[in-house]
């Protein structure tokens, strides 16, 4: 047993994983990194692109706006998510599971649906706005910063809510009782004991919200009006025929990545110094509130959750309105659905095929790589774990740009193919599946697999016969989550698609820009139903665990 590096099955998986990371992350990202240092006209090496992004007022505005949108979305999500978590875990709230389910549904609905549903309500011709104006209440259209923050807060608060609630549920009530016994009143107890204990969860949710907010393309593009953020600026710089500038787009992208990295590093640093893992002896019991307080608590909880579901309801309602071309008519009908089935059936097919194909690849690769991370501790596995953090912080627009720049020359000329979209979905969502399979493996004791080996099963066979069957619930939940995010993916697909490979989210985005709200609503409803079914399936396999979604 002196040979250290045996070329067994798992070594092969490790090599494969590194090949994937090199081809689909390292190469494209290094390509745009290199491009960011190239002058667009002369082709010479330059720092000019960064100088413009950081110092030219046009870009500075976008940079500042991205920060405002990131921190604003984060604070908004926390302002909604933390109180909801505290109320639903500490006090008796009727229909708690119902609220959590609705929050999950709000979470899995595509963000741009929220953006355009709010436009239908509060945009220039929004029916809510017009109705209020009839009553003499003037409401300004929501285009701009306010609209973006409204959409982000209502879209991303479930991350904070679900993570914080699950953390609150694992605090041993004896700790809070001890604080009370030592003389801390309810308010001080919350600030001094409870909040620090759930800080890792709250900050993890906040971080996720920040990263998703600055990376989001659809929302600022649809509801932002003239407000430019880095994500939309990079997209325009790249796609605009007249003023296209890949070097500048690349530099903008790098700035976006660095912003995410800084916030991730800050959160890790802040959480790293607190190890608050406790032992749960008994579960916290929700308290009963007095009548008035209880009514107020219910109003807050249901208000937040229903507001976040409002866009989906508006979309579903709109999809069943009677239309004639792009114009709505009085009454209801299936016109919009007929129209998409007649005009763009391939879009629905594309979405289904791309997301299912990428999910199949993700499940196989994610399960095997998750196994390596959980069971084979080595410097290489550690490096792989680190590399797989990258897709978390690289916005879809950026990775989309990187793919286009990288894979448009022979022999890997993939631009315009279905393959490039599937590969993109694969690498963007692979880390989630790796995480979930590694997490479930950590709950399966290694001795079980060892016992199988000592009873005569070769390592590969022991994995197949013993470990894999035990992993199935986690793997299936991870696959469904990947499916939900893959079928709703907009930003990278928007850069990679051609007419032939258009997907539902892309078509929805284009329809919204064209004012074809009926088509957009019908397609969105199909996405919502697909996502809802997947959520139901996750609940079914994971025994109603909302945290499968965050």
């Amino acid at each position: 047993m002196t040979a250290r590096l045996r070329l067994d099955f798992w070594t092969g998986v490790l090599l494969f994983a590194f090949a994937v990371v090199a081809a689909l992350l390292a190469w494209p990202l290094s390509t745009i990194l290199a491009a960011s240092f190239v002058d667009n006209r002369t082709g010479a090496a330059t720092l000019g692109n960064y100088a413009r992004v950081l110092f030219q007022p046009f870009f500075q505005t976008a940079l500042v706006n991205s920060m405002i949108v990131g921190f604003g979305g984060m604070l908004g999500a926390m302002a909604l998510g933390v109180p909801l978590a505290v109320l639903t875990t500490r006090y008796v709230i009727r229909g708690r599971d119902f609220l959590a389910t609705l929050a999950v549904l709000a979470l899995v609905s595509p963000p741009f649906i929220g953006a355009y549903a709010w436009i239908m309500m509060l945009g220039r011709n929004g029916f809510v706005r017009l109705a209020l104006e009839d009553f003499g209440v003037p409401v300004p259209p929501i285009y701009g910063l306010f609209g973006i923050l409204l959409v982000f807060s209502l879209k991303f608060y479930p991350f904070v809510f679900l993570l914080t609630a699950s953390s609150l549920r694992t605090i041993n009530p004896a700790i809070e009782e001890a604080a009370e016994g030592l003389g801390a009143g309810a308010w001080r107890r919350f600030w001094k004991v409870t909040l620090p204990l759930v800080f890792p969860a709250v900050s993890a949710g906040a971080l996720l919200t920040f990263v998703l907010s600055i990376a989001d393309f659809g929302t600022p593009a649809i509801v932002g009006g003239r407000l430019r953020v880095l994500a939309t600026t990079a997209y325009n710089l790249f796609t605009s025929e007249m003023t296209g500038n890949p070097g500048l787009a690349s530099a903008t992208s790098m700035v976006l990545i660095v912003m995410s990295m800084i916030v991730v590093a800050l959160q890790r640093w802040a959480v790293g110094r607190r190890n608050v893992a406790g032992t749960l002896v008994r579960k916290p019991v929700p308290k009963r509130l007095g009548f008035a307080a209880s009514v107020a608590a219910h109003l807050v909880c249901y208000g937040v959750v229903l507001a976040s579901c409002l866009p989906s309801l508006v979309v579903i309602y709109t999809s069943f309105r009677k239309t004639s071309g792009p114009v709505f008519q009085p009454g209801f009908g299936l016109d919009s659905y007929e129209r998409i089935l007649r005009e763009i059936p391939h879009v629905i097919g594309n979405s289904a095929v791309y997301s299912l194909t990428s999910v199949a690849l993700i499940v196989v690769a994610g399960t095997l790589i998750g196994y390596i991370l959980a069971r084979r501790e080595s410097p290489l596995a550690g490096a792989l774990d680190g590399a797989l953090l990258v897709p978390y912080i690289v916005p879809g627009v950026v990775l989309g740009l990187a793919f286009v720049v990288t894979f448009n020359v022979k022999p890997l000329e993939l631009t315009g193919t279905a393959t490039i979209i599937v590969l993109m979905l694969f690498i963007r969502r692979l880390p989630y599946a790796v995480r979930s399979s590694a997490a479930i493996l950590k709950q399966i004791r290694g001795s079980i697999e060892e016992a199988a080996v000592s009873l005569g099963a070769a390592p590969g066979r022991a994995f197949l016969k013993i470990t894999l069957p035990l992993m199935v619930p986690g793997v299936v939940a991870g696959a469904l989550m990947s499916f939900i995010t893959a079928i709703n993916e907009l930003s990278s697909s928007l850069i990679l698609y051609v007419g032939r490979t258009m997907t539902m989210p892309v078509r929805i985005y284009l329809s919204v820009l064209d004012g074809e709200f009926g088509t957009a609503a019908a397609l969105s409803t199909i996405l919502l139903v697909a996502s809802g079914l997947a959520v139901y399936a996750v609940f079914w396999v994971s025994g109603r665990n909302e945290n499968a979604f965050v």
């Binding site: 016992a451 080996v453 000592s454 009873l455």
Partner: protein, 359 residues
């Protein structure tokens, strides 16, 4: 049944010597226990035999044939784990049958052997149960049956009783011992519980910091500890370090005058005696006598446990049998303690090794 030969096994992790030149022979059919505190290397050694750890140097032979390069799944070694490691998605019968299925045995033979071994571990009626329906003790019986049904050359057990409550632990350890004897399987057993090791083993190997300190049968380990570590780890022991010695082997403790020829020429020794060998009496030939005051007195039914602070600073534990007959001494009472020479153990203060004092 097989004889296991471990020759000069060493294994290092960064900064730690997990196994330091371990050289052992486990005889065929023997119940052999690796005993030591956590981190002593006993589990590492066991897993090396099982094939789950690669060692840096040395050889493992089973019946004279090297198995170092045989992968774990072809070693034909049964293993029982502390956390049972029962396959949670399989019935009791399927768990037990697993090794036979892997060996491609015919179905009729599997059914017959599984039924027989389940009867052996008193789980005859539980074949169709799922593991979560069983108690911890029953699960460990399943693990035992699963390991034994393949007729392994060697049976390895890694603290199999640690997760069970005290009463069950005693019950199951008797069962394991009886089964092992009747089947005659060479067994290597790991535990940190010295009482368990003494009761269950044919021979014990005491390990500390990756090194073998002593190998012997339970009574040898208890009555003639080979090193200071063994003396302090097994049972209770009074240790008096750095006792000065006269040139002719006179022990510089108590009144002096007690002389041991074998110790002549040593400047200092570490002296040890078990509390049950200490007597509460003033005189007597062939004993070191110390005077002191009772520091702590505990009544424990069959015996009284005293701690005596002796003049000169040494504290001595003494167990006195039948305190109901002898009467209890109160705290603060002046007493004399006698340390019979024949009951003393001596160790070299430099390397901790035992010094044989007489016949």
């Amino acid at each position: 049944m097989a004889r296991v030969d471990l020759q000069h096994i060493s294994k290092s992790y960064p900064g730690v010597k997990a196994l330091d030149d371990v050289d052992l022979v486990v005889e065929s059919g023997e119940f052999f226990t690796l005993l030591g505190p956590s981190g002593c290397g006993k589990t590492t050694l066991l897993r090396t035999v099982a094939g789950f750890h690669a060692h840096d140097s040395g050889q493992i032979l089973v019946d004279g044939a090297r198995i170092d390069h045989v992968p774990a799944h072809r070693r034909n070694i049964g293993m029982v784990y502390q956390d049972y490691a029962i396959f949670p998605h399989m019935t009791v019968a399927d768990n037990v049958a697993f090794g036979l299925v892997m060996r491609g045995r015919p179905r009729s033979e599997i059914a017959e052997r599984v039924a027989r071994v389940l009867d052996l571990v008193q789980l005859g009626g539980h074949a169709k149960r799922m593991p979560h329906e069983l108690s911890g003790g029953q699960q460990q019986r399943v693990a035992l049956a699963r390991a034994m049904v393949i007729n392994p050359q060697i049976l390895l057990m890694d603290e199999p009783l640690s997760n069970l409550d005290a009463k069950l632990r005693v019950e199951l350890r008797e069962e394991i011992r009886d089964l092992q004897r009747s089947l005659g399987i060479t067994t290597i057993y790991v535990t940190h519980d010295q009482e368990e090791a003494l009761v269950i083993s044919d021979r014990i190997c005491v390990m500390h910091q990756g090194r073998v300190h002593q190998v012997g049968n339970p009574s040898a380990i208890y009555t003639r500890p080979g090193t200071v570590f063994v003396a302090s780890f097994i049972g209770a022991m009074n240790l008096v370090p750095d006792v000065p010695m006269g040139a002719g082997g006179e022990i510089g403790l108590g009144g002096g005058g007690q002389r041991i020829a074998a110790l002549a020429g040593r400047a200092r020794v570490t002296l040890a005696i078990r509390p049950e060998d200490v007597a509460l009496r003033a005189g007597g030939d062939g004993a070191i006598v110390l005077n002191g005051a009772v520091d702590k007195a505990t009544y424990a039914g069959r015996e009284a446990l005293y701690r005596i602070a002796c003049d000169g600073g040494v504290k001595v534990l003494a167990n006195v049998y039948r305190p109901d007959l002898a009467g209890m001494e109160g705290v603060g009472a002046r007493v004399s303690v006698a340390l019979p020479i024949s009951r003393l153990h001596f160790f070299d203060p430099a390397d901790g090794g035992r010094i044989e004092a007489g016949p």
